[in-house]
Amino acid sequence: MKYQYFPGCSLKGTGRAYEESFLAVFGALNIEVKELEDWNCCGATAYMSVDEAKSYALAGRILAIAARGEGDVIAPCNACYLVLNKTMKTLKEQPELRARVSRALEAAGLEYIDTVKVRHPLDVLVNDIGVDELKKRVKKPVAGLKVASYYGCQMVRPYATFDDQHNPMTMDRIIAASGAECVDWPLKTHCCGGSLTGTVPDAGLRMAYIILKEAKRRGAQAIVTPCPLCQFNLDGYQDQIARKFERVDIPVLYFTQVLGLAMGLGASELGLGRGIISAESILAGR
């Protein structure tokens, strides 16, 4: 199986542990993943607030690059995943806008092509590889670890077709295959605060705090997420949250780190030292 990989800016920056663990896990599964050449930023939520057509054109350039290669595109970042799928869907529904975006791309010798499939790694792991196959690859189950499975908002809402919008389960199944246990909790797709943690901390930090507190209250030893912004907000702002509300102190991992550990990959290979809240307590003895 061959895939193309669209990292997006976060996986090269603050979310590099996600890239490390994603590539390590896919490598160990012998899945070929080729990074898109000279990809640009998807525009995320910020560009859509400034200019709609330009925002779609940014995604259009990424899709044009992907169309030159082979295989579905894997976008591990929830925001990138949403933006690329949103672009294809909206431009199908709005031919006038599509024509404008196409003209702009043509001005630079590019073509708007929406034939590629943009997929989330959870989708690929569960539906292409299969949970049974993943179980076979588990060498060192992370038994006894209780985690809160936290998907964030933009993976399932509103364009995902591979998981349920209210109670997604793909990551829970991968976590279970890894030998860990998911606590029952109601905030799986609650918003982490997005960029508001930085811009409007009164509101944003409270959103992150709610998630941290609830995960801890339900007995989770760690939060597991498939999104770099969720990881950044929940992990990076715990000091500020401690000053504003109370100290929660809970590590926030990527699901690829948990799966990688279970597959016997090394902690440094998986970027497990990159958590601001150290994951050492849960790694001890594994």
Binding site: C9, S10, K12, G13, T14, W39, N40, C41, A44, T45, A46, Y47, S49, V50, D51, E52, A53, K54, A57, L58, G60, R61, Q94, L97, R100, V101, R103, A104, A107, A108, G109, L110, C153, Q154, R157, P158, Q165, T189, H190, C191, G193, G194, S195, L196, G198, T199, V200, P201, D202, A203, G204, M207, G236, Y237, D239, Q240, G273, R274, G275, I276
Partner: protein, 197 residues
């Protein structure tokens, strides 16, 4: 205390703005909103908003231009799409918020020094320059522009990112910068042509 009428008369609405909202792609069914308030109930940020999402929809379709464009609400929307997912009338509330944000930036009426619109603007500038976003530079730039005090409170986070090897010291740049700029500026001239028509 001077008395102030808190409810507007219909004659004070901006009919042109109401027509503009109704004519925007994706807003065709705004008239179908039954004002049930499910969007406001689903919104995790509604408790901070000056107008709840339900009220924004109602004000926008009625033409209360000043109220919606200068509201904090549109800049508090984090685009989590909870409202849209729960809407029984399939109204794309999140996209209406985006539409209003763009119009507010265009008209320059967003709340002064409120960091969210500044972030959006600097974000788009950074893409035009480099093609990619460097989170560290973006955040530093944002706080130097809006809130020095907040910049200081972020130093701890910056040190933590350095300690864990998550800080980026040089802006990442794409090779096809000229190509990307051609695409973006083509849309500017396209927009001007539309405006002339």
């Amino acid at each position: 205390m001077p008395l102030e009428r808190k409810v507007k008369y219909e004659s004070e609405c901006d009919k042109g703005f109401a027509d503009w909202v109704a004519s925007q792609p994706g807003c065709e069914n705004l008239r179908g909103c039954i004002q049930c308030g499910t969007c406001s109930a689903a919104c995790p940020l509604a408790l901070y908003m000056d107008y709840t999402p339900r009220r924004i929809i109602n004000l926008a379709r009625a033409g209360f231009k000043k109220e919606v464009l200068s509201s904090f609400t549109i800049w508090l929307c984090a685009s989590c799409y909870a409202c849209r997912t729960e809407c029984s009338k399939d109204i794309h509330v999140t996209d209406v918020m985006y539409l209003l944000k763009r119009r507010a930036i265009e008209e320059g009426v967003y709340p002064r020094r409120f960091p969210t619109p500044v972030l959006a603007r600097e974000f788009s500038r950074m893409i035009f320059t480099f093609g990619r976003i460097n989170e560290t530079f973006l955040v530093a730039d944002l706080f130097l522009r809006t809130n020095w005090f907040r910049f200081l409170s972020m130093i701890g986070l910056g040190l933590n990112l350095m300690r864990t090897g998550r800080m980026t010291y040089l802006p990442d740049s794409i090779k096809g910068r000229a190509e990307l700029r051609k695409v973006l500026t083509a849309l500017d001239s396209d927009k001007q042509k539309e405006a002339v028509k």
